[in-house]
Symmetry: C2
Subunit: 536 residues, 2 copies
């Protein structure tokens, strides 16, 4: 590896090995803590530059998609190494652009590099391609059986949209990029206007890694845009074969409509919004209500409440134990220090949503933290409460309020089984649900648990939904509107499968087969041979 020496950012798009022009509209990053603008000027990509980036990706695809898993793994590991080499540049820039604490950004850089190496490991090991071989049987009656072999193959160039709330781990070199590159797809990234400097640093790391690994330059490009036009054109572009997006529901749905109405529709993976309901069942309430209140407070206010898995709904019965939990949580929420949000737009949306709670029938303000200086982007934590009846009557109370706030929903303890099940039934799709329960609670709530499974991608027991482990078993997904496609996960091992499709070869000579499907299993991958899973 050759480290990037004295990396510096210039504010233009990255088009393979070259850079975009300085024409077109410009924008600046802003420090949300101070409100000050940050150098340099960023220049929006032109349509011609978008076309150049997509043409490079189209040219790179046939080469990159036929590299071995080990070669793709080496590329991902090199990206991680390049990112670590510029830690001293990218960390302070991401802190300045996001308002997130340095410790959080340091941890996010580590997570980003771990994630790149995690997908490198999956590509290198190779079994993810789900290779299947059914051998020929010339003697079969009434007709001979052919030889059939199939495996997952990459879809083609993938467009990735950076997330506002993860300037590193779900942005330029984040999970969508890592999983698409691992699958064999070139990546075209649409930078987020909120942290373009961190985007450029990460883009330079990937550009350098591609050069170090001798890859075709079109394997990666990064496009800046002051408006939404470039992102929309990217999704509509004939070369683009799939999209990964993390952001707002409005943004996700607008791009999804473009993806669905192209001449050739493409897979569109948006992780959009979630209120992550938390249920505290009676036994757990009685056993450790105070502990749960403290844990919920930490989870609701973590990172100024700016996590996809922030617990925005707390479902509690009407018992005195639940009253005690709410009082304890309210005290902690009221005493929470203001925290800087990611940008002025997110801060304004949070302030507006919190203020609007007053207009919702039956919603009471339980706690509001001290107001921050009106000049900055600092948010005050807030806790609201509403009855189950009023909650059920107002579906918009399930809309995400992005920030350090949560809504307590109280149902009748006496009618637990019916009103609780009715609440679950009413839920829109979510990324997570959390259940605090004793073993006795679980036994008496089997129907509740079964119904909950249909509403979410992940059920957390006796814990808190924030914190999304990068591992093979993780599911960071869920039914609409949490995501646009519940069949996928944007975090963890399953994310690689989003960017591939099965292809079958019938009676192919060995020379026409990819290594994964040849009779001799030289890669030692797990395969399904005549219905039997084997590494033979």
């Amino acid at each position: 590896m050759t480290a990037i020496l004295s990396a510096s950012i210039v504010g233009t798009s990255i088009l393979g090995t070259t850079r975009g022009s300085v024409g077109g509209s410009t924008f600046y990053a802003t420090n949300p803590a101070s409100g000050g603008t940050l150098e340099p000027t960023f220049h929006s990509a032109s349509v011609a530059e978008l076309d150049r980036a997509t043409a490079l990706a189209a040219t790179a695809f046939p080469v990159y998609s036929r590299l071995s898993g080990k070669q793709r793994g080496a590329f991902l590991r090199e990206i991680a190494a390049q990112l670590e080499a510029i830690a001293a540049e990218i960390i302070p820039r991401a802190v300045a652009e996001s308002g997130l604490p340095q410790g959080r950004i340091q941890g996010e850089l580590a997570r980003t590099c771990n994630q790149l190496r995690f997908f490198a490991g999956i590509a290198e090991e190779g079994s993810w391609v789900d290779a299947r071989i059914d051998l020929a049987d010339a003697a079969r009656q009434p007709a001979a059986k052919p030889d059939l072999r199939s495996m997952l193959r990459p879809l083609g160039p993938v467009a990735v949209f950076c997330a506002s709330n993860f300037p590193l781990a779900f942005s330029v070199a984040g999970g969508d990029t890592a999983s698409a590159l691992a699958a064999g797809c070139p990546v075209l990234v649409n930078a987020h206007y909120s942290h373009p400097g961190a985007a450029e640093f990460a883009g330079l790391a990937i550009q350098r890694a591609a050069q170090e690994c001798g890859l075709p330059e079109g394997v990666f490009s990064l496009l800046f845009s002051s408006e939404q036009e470039i992102g929309q054109r990217l999704v509509a572009h004939p070369v683009v074969c799939a999209v990964g997006f993390t952001g707002s529901r409005a943004g996700g749905l607008a791009l999804q409509a473009i993806a669905a109405t192209r001449a050739v529709p493409i897979p569109f993976y948006a992780e959009m919004s979630s209120v992550n309901p938390v249920f505290v069942l009676p036994g757990a309430l009685a056993e450790r209500g105070a502990q749960i209140a403290a844990g919920l407070h930490g989870s609701i206010t973590l990172g100024a409440g700016q996590f996809c898995t922030n617990p925005g709904l707390l479902m509690l019965d009407s018992s005195p134990d639940a009253d005690t939990l709410v009082q304890s949580l309210a005290g902690k929420m009221a005493a929470t220090a203001p925290a800087t949000m990611l940008n002025a737009s997110i801060h304004a949306a949070y302030s507006k949503s919190v203020a609007a709670r007053d207009d919702d029938a039956g919603v009471m303000t339980v706690a509001t933290a001290a107001a921050a200086s009106p000049a900055g982007c600092a948010a005050s934590a807030a806790l609201f409460a509403v009855s189950a009846t009023q909650f059920l009557a107002q579906p918009h109370l399930q809309d995400e309020v992005f920030g350090p706030s949560s809504l307590v929903v109280r149902y009748e303890a006496a009618s637990t089984s019916s009103e609780l099940l009715h609440l679950v039934e009413s839920l829109q799709g979510n990324l997570t649900a959390t259940v605090h329960a004793t073993d006795a609670d679980l036994k008496s709530h089997a129907d509740f648990l079964a119904m909950l499974e249909g509403k979410v991608g992940r059920i957390v027991f006796n814990g808190y939904p924030t914190g999304v482990e990068v591992c093979q078993a993780m599911v960071h997904g869920g039914p609409f509107p949490a995501t646009s496609d519940s069949r996928s996960s944007s975090v963890g091992g399953r994310a690689i499968e989003r960017f591939a499709r099965p292809v079958c070869w019938q009676d192919a000579p060995q020379v026409a087969l990819l290594e994964e499907l040849r009779s001799e299993n030289t890669l030692g991958i797990m395969r399904l041979v005549d219905g039997v899973r084997t590494r033979e």
Copy 2:
């Protein structure tokens, strides 16, 4: 098993254990060979009946989805046994309604039952759920690692649309139904107007099997409709969670638009149209051109050309060897006896498409078989030819002509590499491509083969695309417009995955886990535990 004794059909929808009313619009099945109508009268389902069927399915889902794989397998095996028990009724009815020969329908019944038992085997074995376990590590720094476990879970009730060209194997008890039931989803079938009698017989077999297995009645319903309204309402219905469709591109796209614009969009799997290009490379042409001509003739005219994988495009160079192949094929096509098509509408569309070839610039009629009696639904085989230049200039020449016809495209032998690659590049998505080639051909056409992979779901070597083996490795799918979702296959083991999504449990007590995810692997399924594939 209790066989259905003297099964008879009455022409009303099947709503769980009950039957639809005789109100509403009516229709008859027609024998395409004779033009005569067949008893009984069929009665369209009312909207109230659709609502009743979906309500039953919604009620059945939480029960059916939590049955073990062995219980679901037993249900599928019982359906197969019930179908075999009414072979004497269903076979002549399907023959009369489809115009297909008795031997073909007998074979199709066997295929249908094999397919049901194939998916039973997958459900019983159980590894298809892709169970993944990442164990906790309380000592991990900087934060403890939680226990995460995930597996595929059924989506919910599935709507299945019967295919005109497979009255048994891709209709009521066909591949979509078998794979959805195996996955744990109740099924709501929209019968095809062309073979409602076969549909009712198959529906009775499934109804009886559900009763024999003691399943909730909503696990299966069958809806008749003289118009498209019931089908459209089915796709739009909030209870329906996914759709399997086999039919025309126009029909598939119309339903896809409904599925995509619902309040909650759902996965929509349509297998729509394909021209299945066949390439005969120079070495193979020289070595066995006459044999290939005979094989192609058999594949083009099989079942009156009414297969999704019918070879509708033949790509040949301009050599004398290719001339010889075309002459040989033309002779066989001209001598082909007329064959009865599935129904009057399909026959009219075929006749119109063949006649319209005269209007296409540069298209020559190479062979036309003797005309059939104008009164019936019998189709005459036809062969056309066009230059690569004219083919590239007229994209509509890639539209499917459903019937015993094919279009020969001739490219310049002298410029094989460029014009052949240009032809491949121009192709829309297809279910299959076929390559006749010697080992030397394959070596000199590596770029061609790599590019072809991006256009299809299956590449057949030195064979013919008709004949779709039901096995784990089969891919019957392909890029749009061959299907609406290239990530799936409607035939073979992968079909079950279409109707499931991953769900994750974090730190769940053993009692709250499904058997597939409990620490003791009592089912002996293959799982991914801490990144290692194991049956431990």
